[in-house]
């Protein structure tokens, strides 16, 4: 009964500190978003993504006292997830991949970067675009994913990546430019 009455993230955080069961409600709210974020940032099988997500949630639980209400809880949770992913890549010496994106997700990034005349890209074109995006540096890929797939506002990306708003805007613009340039270099003109 009490659980149903609780509405805000801040309330859930306070109660979670005393009762881990309540933390379950917070996890329920954000597990979908964070799962997809980890999937988009990594190229891991579902089980591995879930393992990473569990580690992220445990980190969030351990850091509950650090949460500051000036931030949106989702931004703070994304930040922890982002840092955890970077740590994971560092530990495993792997590079973040974006191959695991769905076709509609590739289209979103490309649509945001260049003028698309046709609504639907053909399969061959998608493969070529994937290759181009994969060659972008991680700093561009992560902002493009956050902005166009996670549909985060600039302020949220700023809080997630801990970068000034101007830097976020610059990274997004440069990422889009880099993608367009790469596609021109490779003579990809299938839109």
């Amino acid at each position: 009964m009490e659980k149903e009455l609780i509405q805000t993230d801040a309330d859930l955080i306070e109660l979670s500190k005393k009762d881990p069961e309540i933390f379950g409600l917070l996890m329920e709210r954000y597990q979908g978003q964070l799962f997809h974020y980890i999937r988009r940032m990594t190229q891991l099988p579902v089980d591995d993504i879930q393992d990473l997500l569990q580690e992220v949630f445990i980190k969030i639980y351990q850091k509950l006292n650090e949460y500051d209400e000036v931030l949106k809880f989702s931004s703070w949770a994304y930040r922890i997830a982002h840092n955890h992913i970077i740590d994971y890549f560092r530990k495993t010496n792997a590079r973040p991949q974006t191959n695991s994106l769905e076709d509609y997700e590739w289209e979103k990034i490309v649509n945001a970067s260049i003028h698309v005349e046709k609504d639907i890209m053909n399969k061959d074109c998608v493969e070529k675009v994937k290759e181009c995006i994969n060659q972008l540096p991680i700093k561009y890929k992560e902002v493009l994913i956050l902005r166009f797939l996670e549909e985060k506002e600039y302020e949220e990306i700023m809080d997630i990546l801990k970068k000034p708003k101007g830097s976020v805007a610059t990274l997004i613009a440069r990422g889009k430019d880099a993608l367009t340039k790469k596609m021109k270099e490779k003579n990809i003109n299938c839109f």
Binding site: Q54, I58, Q62, V70, P164
Partner: protein
């Protein structure tokens, strides 16, 4: 697909995982701010000491030392304090960037905040007279600094070979002075008709003065200009006792 929520809660309970205590987080958070304040204070100290040294030196001596302005400035610049102040400004910049909300400020804003706060604090310390004290503390505490790295008014004026001398007047007459220099050596200072004595330069016994001129022998010095120890001696000169056609405020010549 496993039940992530259930599994996570079981793991938290089983492994007795608890949220980290708040004080640890607060200690980290305020620790960074405390460090920022400390760095700004040290930056202010360095800046005020540099300003003190620059303000206490005489800036027109390049003319007498056959140097250009830039060369002279480079020879008297307080590099030690300037480098220190620069290092603290950079330190404050990165420390502020490391604070909880530091990332929200642009590079320009952080630069302005850090540089501005060090500048303001340095100015307050300088006008409160602390710059000289910090400099003395450094000179006393670190002998190497006092002996080799510090250009002071004293070192600037104790260069008889370059025509600069300072000390206390022991005896004076119309044609000469006996001067006890800053290291206790006695000099016979010749005063000629062309010697310019700045308006507020007092050359009576017991007064400290600065002399510009030419070293004649080991203990004789010919004065071309005499200034009071403090300042350039220009104040009070307007309309005050000019001789030999010198412009108002420039001083007076002896001998007529």
């Amino acid at each position: 697909m496993k039940d992530l929520i259930k599994d996570t809660i079981v793991k938290i309970k089983k492994e007795h995982i608890l949220p980290e205590s708040k004080w640890k987080y607060l200690a980290r958070k305020y620790g960074v701010w405390f460090l920022f304040v400390l760095v700004v204070i040290f930056g202010g100290v360095s800046l005020s000491a540099a300003a003190y040294l620059l303000s206490s030196l005489d800036w027109d001596l390049y003319r007498f030392m056959h140097q250009n302005r830039v060369g002279y400035l480079l020879s008297i610049f307080p590099y030690f304090w300037a480098v220190l102040a620069g290092a603290f400004i950079i330190g404050a910049f990165f420390d502020m960037r490391k604070t909880e909300t530091g990332y929200r400020f642009s590079w320009l804003k952080i630069s302005l905040i850090t540089f501005g706060s060090i500048l303001v604090l340095g100015a307050v310390m300088f006008f409160a007279g602390l710059g000289g004290r910090f400099n003395s503390m450094m000179a006393n505490g670190v002998p190497y600094y006092g002996q080799h790295m510090m250009v002071t008014k004293e070192s600037q004026w104790m260069q008889p070979q370059n025509g600069l001398l300072a000390g206390t007047v022991v005896a004076s007459s119309d044609k000469s002075l006996i001067l006890n220099d800053l290291i206790g050596k006695k000099w016979d200072i010749k005063i000629g008709n062309e010697t310019l004595i700045r308006p507020i330069a007092d050359i009576s016994q017991g007064q400290m003065i600065k002399v510009i001129g030419k070293k004649m022998t080991d203990d004789q010095f010919e004065a071309s200009e005499i200034r009071p120890w403090i300042g350039g001696g220009m104040m009070g000169g307007v309309g005050g006792g000019q001789r030999n056609g010198m412009g108002a405020g420039r001083g007076m010549m002896r001998g007529n």
